[in-house]
């Protein structure tokens, strides 16, 4: 059997007295397209940071490709929320995408020719092949999102993790981004974190609902009442009859 891409076992995380994540169990297999959804403050970003090894949970075990997240970093492509960027930073598209090569390229001096080739390929894959020299300030929201996806692809990852990839861009472009992810999913495992559940269900194979605790559903069995329960009140815990840890 294939080694799972991501496994979380009984992971709990608290900021001081406040429990953010409670006994999270999750297994993500190769080639899956998993969506983690939940309202604001449900612990989505915390869960993401734990998977990336930026935070360590107080309890439980996290494994990426069977090793701790920090050791698996070079096999993971991460796409942060673009809204956090300083849009005035003097940098162009190519220089941004090349950053995906860090960790694999040489330590001293510039990037190698090979890195430039891989970065160009990544840009072509997100259909921005001719924008390499364009400064980041001159990009639309949708284009910037694609540039950040290209940067993650330049890592030549086996799994792609995206934080709210469609927040702050208009729905038409949003659809394009998910079509792109669907295409990438043919060769990569894709994990998307989003508060926007409506759109996501058309694309993904499995959805994990997070509100301090995590419950998985196949997208086909996701019903309106579940969504209502999840988003009903930010302080109410979500109760499900059965906990599905496998699929």
């Amino acid at each position: 059997m294939n080694e799972p891409v991501i496994t979380l076992e009984d992971v709990s995380f608290r900021y001081e007295e406040h429990a953010v994540l409670l006994d999270i169990n999750l297994t993500v297999h190769a080639q899956e397209f998993l969506g983690i959804v939940g309202p604001n403050g449900s612990g989505k970003s915390t869960l993401l940071k734990i998977m990336l090894g930026l935070l360590t949970p107080q309890k439980g075990q996290v494994r990426i490709f069977g090793v701790p997240p920090v050791e698996a970093r070079l096999r993971v492509g991460y796409v942060p929320q673009f809204i956090t960027f300083d849009r005035n930073f003097p940098i162009n598209v190519q220089e941004t995408v090349l950053q995906g090569r860090l960790g694999k390229t040489r330590l001293v001096g510039g990037y190698r020719r090979e890195d430039h080739r891989i970065a160009r390929q990544a840009l072509e894959e997100v259909e921005l092949g001719d924008l390499g020299k364009r400064p980041l300030t001159a990009l639309s929201g949708g284009q910037l999102q694609r540039v950040l996806i290209a940067r993650a692809l330049a890592c030549q990852p086996e799994v792609l993790i995206l934080d709210e990839p469609t927040a702050h861009i208009d729905p038409k472009i949003e659809e394009g981004v998910f079509d792109l992810l669907k295409r990438l999913n043919q060769r990569l495992t894709v994990l998307v974190v989003s508060h926007d559940i409506g759109f996501i269900t058309r694309y993904i194979t499995r959805v994990a609902c997070l509100n301090r605790t995590l419950v998985c559903h196949a997208t086909s069995e996701l019903t309106g009442s579940m969504i209502e329960q999840l988003y009903g009140g930010p302080l109410r815990a979500v109760h499900h009859d059965t906990l599905l840890h496998t699929h």
Partner: protein, 282 residues
């Protein structure tokens, strides 16, 4: 006016030293200044600059070279601020304030208690480019070389850390090491620029030429190049004007730089508004 300045330049070695020193200083100013602007660490640079007086005072008190004391104090201040910001991010602001004022106070006390004739405190505080000696020129040259070499070797890491620290960390870049390296480069630049405009006015030459460059270019390396050229222009201009009218050179240079920043900022915003209005009418 220009002719008097040129005559002095040809006939007076101290003017030649001042000009060469100013032009050499503009290299570090453009390179490190660009990082100060894009990382928004002007306050850190200010803290380092003021803390330097403590080191200069101590060196002076012990009868050592003030420049040596300045280099040590600048690096120590940079490392303290850097480590505090890595370990206790919330205390960063307070740490800078403390180093800023305590460094100054220590320097003033030590200089007051130093044996021998009284040092010209004003030239530490506000700079005196006309006092740059041949040894200072070599020192500035070697510091420049060190700064430029490190930036060339690690340009991609420094860019990545400045642009997106979290992503850089995920790509196994030693974010802490490179953040500290960056602060050390800024610290050495501060020492160089103190020779030119003094420690109180340093921040203007660090931030403003690069900020002006940022109005016109969208690449860090070009920003460094333009900021270097602008820095050289302002320092030379400041030297010429101050010589002609017998004004303090550091203050003249900084006023010139500030004026250029003001003109550029207003100009660029008017131009952008005009562009916006034009595209709106279409």
């Amino acid at each position: 006016m220009l002719s008097t300045f040129l005559e002095a330049l040809i006939s007076q070695p101290f003017m030649q030293h001042a000009l060469i020193g100013g032009l050499l200083a503009s290299i570090a100013c453009g390179v490190a200044g660009s990082y100060v602007v894009v990382r928004r660490i002007g306050y850190i640079a200010g803290g380092i600059a003021h803390a330097v007086l403590g080191g200069m005072g101590l060196a002076y008190f012990l009868g050592r070279s003030p420049v040596g004391g300045a280099i040590c104090a600048a690096l120590v201040a940079a490392l303290i601020i850097g480590l505090v910001s890595i370990r206790w991010k919330k205390q960063e602001d307070t740490t800078i304030s403390a180093l800023w004022a305590v460094g100054m106070a220590l320097g003033v006390l030590l200089i007051a208690r130093s044996p021998g004739y009284n040092v010209d405190l004003m030239s530490y505080l506000f700079g005196n480019i006309l006092m740059i000696s041949r040894e200072h020129l070599w020192l500035i040259f070697w510091l420049d070389m060190g700064i430029v070499l490190l930036v060339i070797l690690f340009f991609k890491q420094l860019l990545a850390v400045s642009f997106d620290e979290e992503f850089a960390e995920l790509r196994q870049v030693s974010v802490n090491i490179f953040s500290l390296l960056l602060l050390c480069l800024v610290a050495l630049t501060v020492v160089i620029l103190i020779q030119v405009v003094g420690l109180i006015l340093v921040i203007a030459l660090l931030a403003l030429p690069a900020a002006i460059a940022g109005h016109y270019v969208q690449s860090l390396s070009r920003m460094m190049l333009i900021a270097t050229l602008l820095g050289g222009l302002f320092i030379t201009g400041g030297l010429a004007v101050s010589y002609q009218y017998d004004l303090p050179s550091g203050a003249t240079t900084v006023l010139l730089t500030g004026l250029a920043y003001l003109v550029s900022s207003v100009g660029i915003s008017v131009w952008r508004r005009w562009q916006l209005g034009r595209s709106g009418r279409k």
